[in-house]
């Protein structure tokens, strides 16, 4: 491995062999348009969503200071964390499913790394021009023009990065207030810190690290091959059609020269953002961005050859077999995905918006009152996850004649409120022997069918 790299470095350096960075050539084509569309839609969603309002408050807000998540009309509490965990598992299985079907669709079109790199490369082009202009500029000595172009690029990048950091923090703190605070330098220290932190990460990742992140830092890039089989959609060079490669005049018949369809123009290599040669076969560096397809199709059009020398295909199709879309792997991923989604939907639909907790005071066993009663102390915790105020009534069963003290007949809990109330339960001494299981019941006075039960224990003197 190391020696390969070393020998590659030791080769006599042709024109740009020692270039410090990859200068992907700009292209146009079907897949490039598709990726631009994906970039615009995804970035639009990211930058736009925090500004969306729902019932007069921010529609999507992970309000960490208040420990509540607002998702459109839904309010989630820390207790709802399993939903989030399940959502993440669903996301993972969707990734497996789509990878098995369509390869690294995620990498080429939806990964934040790709999307932001796309945006940063666009800004680079605005400031520094096309691929060859950029290469020339970097080799040129410093001049006013170079300074101007580099300065413009940095300004664009930094502005965009800070805006990105601001938007990110805007998902966790109300974005409108945050905006005003940041502009007037009155934002809290942590909000400012995270804005700059995330902005800097964006700047570094999309501006400088780019495909190195995919090559060296991304775990998905390494294990995605586990989801691949010979029916998975990949981007591949049709070796049987293309080889032997070689340049030729447009007018000549390649068959007469004994050549394949590849004219060895290296356009597919020049456009590659990770700097690989797709003609060497499937490589883990390939993020399936399909830039090489666009490039090659344009060349094939010019040569009047059929398109698709580099194309989306499968290993089976390349080998002359038919591609099977429905196969066990796909069924397994799809079934698991469906089960998970069904589970999430059901559990969210049946979620009770009230949480009841009754805790027995651990510091005392029981107390004997002078009038022959036994007293236990409890604390009731009621969480009203709804947005409106509710009234509740608490009752208890399990010991004959047990009464509650310190609990109002109507317990009001405001919308989104948490009530914590200590109270006492008393029963006659003759009715209590040792440990008795009791049940507390809370009834929502607005809706008679909403009942919540909580098991607890009532302690009394042990019978001799």
């Amino acid at each position: 491995m190391n020696s390969e790299v070393d020998s590659a470095r030791a080769q006599p350096a042709p024109m740009y062999a020692s270039a410090e960075k990859i200068y992907p050539r700009e292209i146009q084509g079907r897949y490039d348009s598709l990726r631009k569309l994906a970039t615009v839609v995804l970035l639009g969603l990211f930058y736009g969503l925090p500004w969306l309002l729902w019932d007069g408050r921010q529609a999507i807000l992970f309000d960490l200071p208040a420990r509540k998540f607002y998702l459109l009309g839904l309010t989630l509490w820390p207790q709802d964390f399993p939903y989030l965990a399940m959502l993440l598992i669903i996301a993972a299985f969707s990734l497996f499913f789509f990878t098995a079907l369509a390869g690294r669709l995620w990498c080429g079109f939806a990964c934040p790394q790709t999307v932001w790199t796309e945006a940063f490369i666009w800004m680079e082009q605005v400031a520094e021009g096309t691929r060859s202009q950029r290469m020339k500029l970097d080799k040129a000595p410093w001049s006013f023009e170079k300074l101007r172009r580099k300065f413009l690029k940095q300004m664009l990048w930094i502005t965009f990065a800070v805006w990105t950091g601001f938007t990110f923090v805007g998902y966790f703190t109300p974005v409108r207030e945050l905006g005003v605070e940041l502009v007037t330098f009155s934002a809290g220290g942590w909000a400012t810190f995270w804005t700059l932190f995330y902005g800097f990460a964006t700047y570094g990742n999309a501006g400088y690290m780019r495909e190195q992140v995919c090559k060296y830092m991304c775990p998905y890039a390494r294990f995605q091959s586990a989801m691949f089989d010979k029916d998975t959609l990949i981007i591949s060079y049709d070796e049987r059609r293309g080889e032997p490669r070689g340049s030729r005049k447009r007018s000549t018949d390649p068959k007469a020269l004994g050549l394949g369809d590849c004219i060895d123009c290296t356009m597919c290599v020049q456009v590659c953002p990770t700097g690989i040669d797709i003609r060497d076969g499937l490589q883990y560096e390939c993020i399936a961005c399909a830039a090489c397809i666009d490039a090659c199709d344009a060349v094939m059009d010019k040569m009047n050859y059929p398109r698709g020398l580099v194309r989306y295909t499968t290993q089976h199709a390349l080998d002359g077999y038919t591609t099977k879309l429905l196969r066990p792997r796909v069924f397994v991923y799809a079934t698991l995905l469906l089960l998970l989604v069904a589970g999430l939907v059901t559990s969210m639909a049946t979620r009770t918006p009230i949480i009841l907790d009754v805790i027995r005071d651990r510091n005392s066993l029981y107390r004997e009152l002078p009038n022959g009663m036994i007293e236990n102390i409890y604390t009731i915790k009621l969480i009203n996850q709804r947005n409106d105020a509710r009234n509740f009534a608490l009752s208890v069963a399990g010991v004959p004649g047990i009464v509650l003290d310190g609990v109002p007949e109507i317990i009001g809990v405001e919308g989104g409120g948490v009530l914590s109330l200590p109270f006492r339960a008393r029963a006659r001494r003759d009715d209590v022997h040792g440990i008795i299981n009791i049940v507390f019941t809370v009834r929502d006075l607005g809706e008679t069918d909403v009942l919540l039960h909580e098991d607890s224990r009532f302690l009394g003197p042990t019978p001799r």
Binding site: P14, A17, K21, I22, V213
Partner: protein, 96 residues
């Protein structure tokens, strides 16, 4: 190879690969840890365990928690990477 001149030849050095991977993976792990941890514990409740007068607020509590996790995962990740990379290679051991 005929098209060598068109390729960017940038490779991160092995050290930079290790630094990048360690920083990024420990960051991810710390983020997950922070999420799970603070879904269960409220930083305000936690600070009262240590000192009743300690009042640092949730923002700072989350940040402190995150950096605590990050330092921990960074340490673990870096040490693992370092041990693997500096392990004696049996292929090179030909001393007799």
């Amino acid at each position: 190879m005929s098209n060598e001149e068109y390729r960017g030849r940038q490779q991160w050095s092995r050290n930079w690969q290790a630094v990048g991977t360690v920083v990024w993976i420990s960051f991810l792990s710390a983020a997950i840890g922070t999420m799970v941890f603070f879904a269960m514990f409220d930083p305000v409740d936690l600070t009262s365990i240590f000192d009743d007068d300690l009042d640092i607020g949730r923002d700072a509590g989350y940040a402190a928690g995150f950096f605590f996790f990050w330092v921990l995962t960074l340490f673990c990740s870096a040490l693992t990477a370092w041990l693997i990379r500096t392990a004696p290679n049996p292929d090179n051991k030909r001393r007799s």
